[in-house]
């Protein structure tokens, strides 16, 4: 499937270094499928949790104004920590189709790409402006264009960046890698047979 442009309302999730334990607590990894995980996103800081009820502010994922959002806005080093794919899986199952942030952890970025969830970066200033705009007007629609490299909303148009391979994979529809990796399997055998630890020392 080719992914070129994502359009919809946005959900701002402020904070640097948001780790995957926060996005998806480990107890929800106790399952043999990814189904239904979206119900537990950020569970330990949302309404009804001890920390959430103390927080004094509505958690963005509880805020009805952001319901139905398809673009997640984040700050720096989003998705750090554990390699659990459960985190991007849950976000995607919760309706998120693209994440726009200052920077991403590498494993989270890779896991997201593997399931066709683009993580694109924008400058801290642009992120700040986008977040402020969405917080003022949660119904404002954003458009993330991977081919043009832009994120646009009423009044704001900013440049977004995505490593070339990731953009090509998403835009070209080749982000589901297994087929590509298996396409010329004879070459894999050849490389393996030249490795002394595989062939035998």
């Amino acid at each position: 499937m080719k992914i070129t442009r994502i359009e919809g309302t946005a959900l701002p999730m402020r904070g640097d270094d948001i780790d995957t334990d926060r996005i998806m607590p480990a107890r929800y990894l106790r399952a043999v499928t990814f189904e239904g995980l979206e119900r537990y996103l950020f569970e330990d800081e949302r309404a009804g949790s001890a920390a959430g009820d103390r927080a004094g502010a509505v958690h963005p994922f509880d805020n009805p104004a952001y319901r139905g959002a398809s673009i997640l806005l984040v700050n720096r080093n989003f998705g750090c920590g554990s390699s659990r794919e459960h985190a991007p899986q849950a976000l995607q199952r919760g309706g998120i189709r693209a994440i726009v942030g200052e920077s991403f952890s590498e494993i989270f970025f890779g896991n997201s790409l593997m399931i066709g969830l683009p993580c694109v970066t924008a400058s801290p200033g642009d992120i700040s402006e986008l977040m402020a705009q969405v917080e003022r007007r949660p119904d404002v629609r954003l458009s993330v264009d991977l081919e043009a490299g832009t994120c646009e909303t009423a009044g704001v148009r900013c440049a977004i960046a995505l490593p070339g391979h990731a953009r090509d994979a998403l835009v070209g529809g080749t982000w589901d890698t297994t087929g590509m990796l298996l396409a010329r399997y004879d070459e894999v055998g050849l490389v393996a047979s030249r490795l002394p630890y595989v062939a035998g020392f």
Partner: protein, 466 residues
């Protein structure tokens, strides 16, 4: 111009450039566990695929298993289902499994080394971010998600992008009471939790050269906490000596040939690095985290930063202090702890237990502290028992458990309760990490955990070293 180990390993494992522009890399060893693999095996089933290289695949159980009562079926029905799923998957696809009753069972990053599966100049993948641990042997080892586990199972390959290399030289001699854990916590504090994104960390310098394999594994293990997906140490005599005689290591004449190849794959003296950093060992102290990410740490002699301090992000510090129940400006020493946990893929090896036992011997765990030791593998447990370490810990009031990930991430019954504070030898102090949504983690070396267990509060271990 010479090459780094990373470049050499990358080149030797490159299959081709993919249409996406990524590089197809052959994976020399795929380690599998119960938590991140069931969906991957299901994907193979759905498409009628087999496991490409059973000879390069090895599974064990670690994340969800109980560490106390291990009679099957488990009382924890979900754990039972996940273990049963892995057993079924391994049986159906023919994957080797060191299961619960196998004397090789243990945390995947502990047993890879112990069994000699992990070797220099290999590429190693596992559905766990602490796969960087295996870099201690000069392997290029990294964590992947479940879709990539599927790719490796099906093709023994991954689609990857090149990494830069930052060399981190640790020079000089570590003072007494300062451990490998303090080295890596200091590196993460200095370079930041996102500082390593896009990099592999090459740990070098004479202090690293003198480290045992256990210590190197502790350092490489937490590379990911600094944002670096890969961390490695060039293989040397210490590496070769460790590997000789291990079950899956080459033997006899082949071992000598292997050593020659491993040596040739180490970084060249004139290799070019994208970045170079020096850490002076003599300046290091025991370190404790005070916050909610592994970069938020202070020397045990230091004070918790305040939200208005210089150079920090005030809002993040205030948020962390609020979660941890700490006040800025307080000394970290003296912070009361409720739980002491010695275990995890970072610090659960025999040498870790020996160092902790040195502190514990002849002392008692403070009455208000629950203390537990969870050896990293069945083999570590047996070795520790042969030395009588279990008796040392038990006599002091520690619980002595069976191998698993346990309270590092609280996926099994070993969890913090409520807002308990835990002195922990593990790797992450994220909010909710140890199984209670409001639990609080203070990361430190195993010897420091032992000292905290005895004192009932964060204590400078150096005061207990005779």
């Amino acid at each position: 111009m010479g090459h780094t180990l990373l470049q050499k390993v990358w080149d030797r494992h490159t299959v081709r450039t993919l249409p996406s522009g990524q590089t197809q890399i052959f994976i020399g060893l795929h380690l599998v566990h119960e938590v991140t693999s069931p969906q991957a095996f299901d994907a193979l089933r759905a498409r009628g695929w087999t496991v490409a290289r059973l000879d390069r695949t090895f599974a064990t159980v670690d994340h969800i298993i109980p560490t106390r009562e291990r009679t099957r079926p488990f009382l924890d029905l979900m754990a039972e289902e996940m273990i049963a799923a892995l057993e079924r998957n391994c049986r159906d696809f023919g994957v080797r499994l060191a299961g619960l009753d196998d004397d090789r069972q243990g945390i995947v990053h502990v047993i890879g080394a112990e069994l000699g599966l992990t070797q220099p100049a290999m590429t190693i993948a596992c559905g766990d971010s602490h796969t960087s641990t295996h870099g201690a042997f000069g392997a290029i080892a990294f964590g992947v998600g479940t879709s990539q586990v599927r790719d490796v199972l099906a093709s023994q390959c991954l689609a990857l992008e090149p990494m830069k290399v930052r060399r981190i030289r640790v020079t000089g001699t570590l003072p007494p009471g300062v451990y490998a854990k303090d080295v890596i916590l200091t590196i993460i504090h200095r370079l930041g939790v996102g500082g390593g994104v896009g990099y592999a960390y090459e740990y070098a310098g004479d202090a690293v050269a003198r480290m045992s394999m256990d210590e190197r594994m502790t350092v490489c293990n937490m590379s990911i906490e600094g944002g670096a997906r890969v961390g490695y140490v060039n293989p040397d005599e210490t590496t070769f000596k460790y590997l000789e005689g291990r079950p899956f290591a080459p033997s006899g004449q082949a071992f000598a040939r292997a050593v020659a190849w491993w040596r040739s794959m180490a970084s060249d003296p004139d290799a070019r690095y994208d970045d170079d950093v020096e850490v002076r060992a003599a300046e290091l102290t025991p370190v404790v985290t005070w916050g909610v990410n592994p970069g938020q740490s202070v020397p045990v002699t230091g004070r918790v930063p305040g939200p208005n301090g210089a150079g920090g992000d005030g809002r993040a510090i205030a948020d962390a202090l609020g979660y941890m129940g700490l006040r800025g400006g307080e000394p970290i020493a003296g912070t009361k702890v409720d739980v002491a946990f010695i275990g995890s893929c970072t610090n659960s090896r025999l040498s870790d237990l020996r160092e902790a036992a040195r502190i514990v011997r002849g002392r008692r765990v403070a009455p208000h502290v629950t203390a537990l030791v969870v050896p990293g593998s069945a083999s570590v447990k047996r070795a520790a028992e042969r030395e009588g370490l279990d008796e040392v810990f038990r006599a002091a009031g520690f619980e002595w458990r069976s191998a698993g990930c346990s309270m590092c991430l609280g996926m099994n019954p070993d969890k913090l309760q409520g807002s308990q504070v835990c002195a922990s030898s593990s790797n992450r102090n994220f909010k909710g990490r140890q199984g209670s949504p409001t639990g609080r983690t203070l990361l430190m070396s195993p010897a420091m955990v032992a000292a905290a267990a005895v004192a009932g509060e964060v204590t400078d271990v150096r005061s207990m070293l005779a």
